[in-house]
Symmetry: C2
Subunit: 121 residues, 2 copies
């Protein structure tokens, strides 16, 4: 059902064709979204920002993020399940750290974006 009335049909068809050629499968798109979804919560973002400064246990993360230990633990599981953070037992504590450098880059880009357009948003 092509839109026969769209005035820019010809110009669009090129874009449409390129878009359809390079199109990712629906599941691939969902996997991409997952990365953003995981970073789309402020508690999780605070956790990631904190861990970018160094390894920490749940208790200290809760302190930095101004959240409950339980809440932080729940969010850490999501970060862990999605390969964003890594865990390491050290005695009674569990040490959390950033697992993936792409995440650092994305967060840094978001900070840049914020300082560029943040004032106007």
């Amino acid at each position: 059902m092509p839109n026969m009335y769209c005035e820019r049909e010809k110009e669009h068809l090129q874009s449409v064709q390129r878009a359809k050629e390079g199109v990712l499968s629906h599941t691939d798109v969902q996997k991409m979204c997952k990365i953003f979804q995981v970073l789309a919560d402020s508690t999780r973002m605070k956790i990631v920002l904190a861990l970018m400064k160094g390894e920490m246990c749940v208790y200290h993360l809760a302190e930095v993020c101004d959240a409950t230990v339980s809440g932080v633990s729940h969010q850490l599981r999501i970060l862990r399940d999605n390969g964003i953070v890594r865990t390491r037992r050290f005695g009674k504590n569990v040490e959390y750290s950033i697992a993936d450098d792409h995440v650092r880059e994305m967060v840094d880009l978001a900070v840049t974006h914020l300082s560029c357009v943040g004032a106007t948003l």
Copy 2:
């Protein structure tokens, strides 16, 4: 209420201090999250991926994204309100395009991330 029993208290305190020094305000963190939130939906991601190939109207976007025109329009409003896409009237049509290069970079990074670790997630 410092955790007096955490065995790595001293090491953590450095991380905690750095984290607290560079800490963003809660509203700034929320603004950062907003960017990720906007890209965290598969319909919106498909729209952005399509527009990265060229300008298009709502109808063609709906075709490429395999969604309804109304649904795409709703999501375009969110992208527009968050400075991700730009609009331009052209006769009866409204042409949408990517407004912000940071978004391109972030999406590209996510694609890279997907091809690196996507298989294992």
